[in-house]
């Protein structure tokens, strides 16, 4: 949960300095990067590592079992792509907003903002969820994986490579959400059928019509043939 003791005492409107971040995150982050929203790379962490169900990093709640937050900004620790980040956010901030605005990780797209297009798909632990309908504070204590965390600086996730190989994109705006949805499917089912893939992305909207190639790319990684 959000850290009520405020171990990262930034002023509410101040961006966290790189020094407040763990070493593993530093290489990918500069203050300029934050401000320009340049996007954070995975900072060399392997994001397909084992992901725990619930992190023990949750702050201890107050003794009566209630932790009071907000309505003003509160410091919150988010575990994103293998690195810890502290952000100052209001409780109403969605995970998508925290990622995109506070952390400058703009790979996650917001399209419908109502949980019906899955453009904003990220993983909470390894489960794909809509970050537009998740409050950032509800991501505390979980491992958040974003599209930026799926690849490292020099190596794409096999599915990302397959998306490129099969031209499974046009304008590219739905692509991060599609990749996160299909990659999550492969995590829990390494050999999906096309039927499985269609169902796994049945909440993801693409307006350019890249679906056939998304199916093909995912099937390619799954190592199964179209009619399997």
């Amino acid at each position: 949960m959000p850290d009520p003791k405020g171990s990262h005492p930034q002023a509410p409107d101040e961006q966290p300095e790189p020094s407040t971040l763990p070493d593993s995150a530093r290489s990918g982050i500069t203050r300029r990067g934050f401000l320009k929203g340049a996007g954070l790379t995975a900072a060399g962490t392997a994001l397909l590592d084992g992901v725990q169900a619930f992190s023990s990093e949750t702050a201890a709640p107050a003794t009566n079992g209630v932790t009071e937050l907000g309505p003003g900004p509160v410091p919150v620790r988010l575990h994103v792509n293998g690195a810890e980040h502290t952000v100052e956010i209001e409780p109403r901030t969605t995970l998508a907003e925290a990622l995109r605005i506070n952390l400058g990780m703009t790979g996650t797209k917001v399209v419908c903002d109502r949980g019906v297009c899955s453009g904003c798909t990220v993983w909470l632990d390894k489960m794909p969820v809509n970050s537009c309908m998740t409050l950032a504070i509800d991501a505390v204590g979980h491992h958040v994986t974003t599209i930026e965390g799926l690849s490292s600086e020099d190596r794409m996730h096999p599915l990302q490579a397959a998306f490129v190989k099969h031209d499974a994109m046009q304008c590219g705006f739905c692509t991060p959400g599609m990749v996160m949805s299909c990659a999550a499917l492969l995590e829990r089912n390494p050999h999906p059928s096309e039927h499985d893939i269609r169902h796994a992305v049945s909440g993801n909207l693409c307006r350019c019509g890249t679906y056939p190639k998304i199916f093909a790319a995912t099937m390619d990684v799954a190592g199964t043939t179209r009619n399997a």
Binding site: N64, E68, P91, G115, P128, T134, L135, A200
Partner: protein, 333 residues
């Protein structure tokens, strides 16, 4: 979304202590955030129960199943026991909303979600369910609205879990700090808009949904749920049906037929049930039951087509439950 403070609770007692002064419970938050983003609800204080571990999980008991209200739809639909013995619930949970929403949305939230009527969901329309005196659907666009039991408001019951749980004769446990616990059947959880349009459920402001209890099905029970939309990829139901059949060999000893998108509150169809009771299940009897399921229905200006759809949804789901037909590939969800 408006600004709000949040009381993050780690236990039921903690949550109950916070249910005061207009505070609103947030579990998965999907429907609540939706309403807040649409500006039709602006609570200034949320009680976050999402992290109360005791409210999550599926437990088999002597009497049947107890499901924590924070159990997600995905967890329910993936559960082996539910898949084998409570197929109707696995179907309903597994075909609600989108795959990602099913990972986030809780079964409690699904039961308690508000209607999807586009007038209700728009802050531009101050309708009878928001305490005003107009319903816009009667003279407006109503193709997705109710065909029965809608004198005051023709919005339809949105919860597919409710269609399944009503079929399974489930009950819910409500807890209050002051008044303790009470148990209600699924049908009694909901307030019919004719009785009170602004109250969607009987849950009082100081109450929390703390358990869902499902009795063990009688031996020989088979069940299924199917939902039809305009789309196959995620869509709200334009017609749906839940079917529970207690079979005695080939003969149906008892049938429960439930429907969601026909009326403002989830309903059983006594006519359809009667049509099956004591009969063997085949296409003819299933179609006969489907036909009577819309008896007495009165469509609005834009939804007469539902009179055709519901009988089909009902007969096909009966056959699906009876194992005489595959799941319809064009069913939604």
């Amino acid at each position: 979304m408006n600004r709000f403070s949040i009381a993050d609770c780690s236990s039921v007692d903690a949550a109950l202590s916070q249910l005061k002064d207009g505070a609103v419970v947030k579990a998965g938050g999907v429907d609540l955030l939706d309403r807040m983003k649409d500006g039709i609800e602006q609570p200034t204080r949320l009680v976050n129960i999402r992290n109360i571990s005791g409210l999550r999980g599926i437990r088999e008991t002597e009497q049947g199943l107890t499901i924590g209200p924070l159990t997600t739809l995905a967890e329910i639909s993936d559960h082996p026991l539910i898949q084998s013995q409570y197929q109707i619930l696995a179907d309903a949970s597994g075909h609600a909303a989108t795959p990602h929403i099913r990972n986030m949305a809780t079964v409690g939230g699904n039961l308690l979600q508000r209607v999807q009527c586009w007038y209700y969901r728009s802050s531009d329309f101050q309708c009878i369910r928001k305490g005003k005196d107009l319903c816009f659907a009667f003279d407006g666009l109503n193709q997705y609205h109710a065909i029965m039991e809608y004198a005051t408001c023709p919005s339809v019951a949105p919860s597919s879990a409710a269609v399944a749980l009503l079929g399974l004769n489930a009950s819910v446990e409500l807890s209050s700090a002051k008044r303790g616990k009470r148990n209600l059947g699924i049908r009694d959880l909901y307030v019919v808009p004719d009785a009170n349009p602004t109250k969607f459920t009987v849950i009082e402001p100081d109450e929390l949904l703390t358990a869902i209890v499902i009795p063990k099905p009688a031996p020989g029970t088979r069940s299924a749920y199917q939902k039809y939309g305009e789309k196959e990829s995620f869509d709200w139901a334009i017609a749906d049906a839940g079917v529970v059949l207690e079979m005695d060999g080939d003969v149906c000893r008892r049938a429960v037929i439930t429907m969601g998108a026909a009326s403002p509150v989830v309903r059983r169809s006594p006519q359809a049930e009667a049509a099956l009771t004591g009969k063997s299940i085949n296409e003819e009897t299933a179609r006969a039951a489907g036909k009577v399921a819309v008896e007495g229905a009165q469509p609005l200006s834009g939804n007469a087509y539902k009179l055709d759809l519901f009988p089909v949804a009902v007969y096909r789901t009966i056959l699906l439950a009876a194992g005489q037909r595959d799941r319809d590939p064009s069913a939604a969800g």
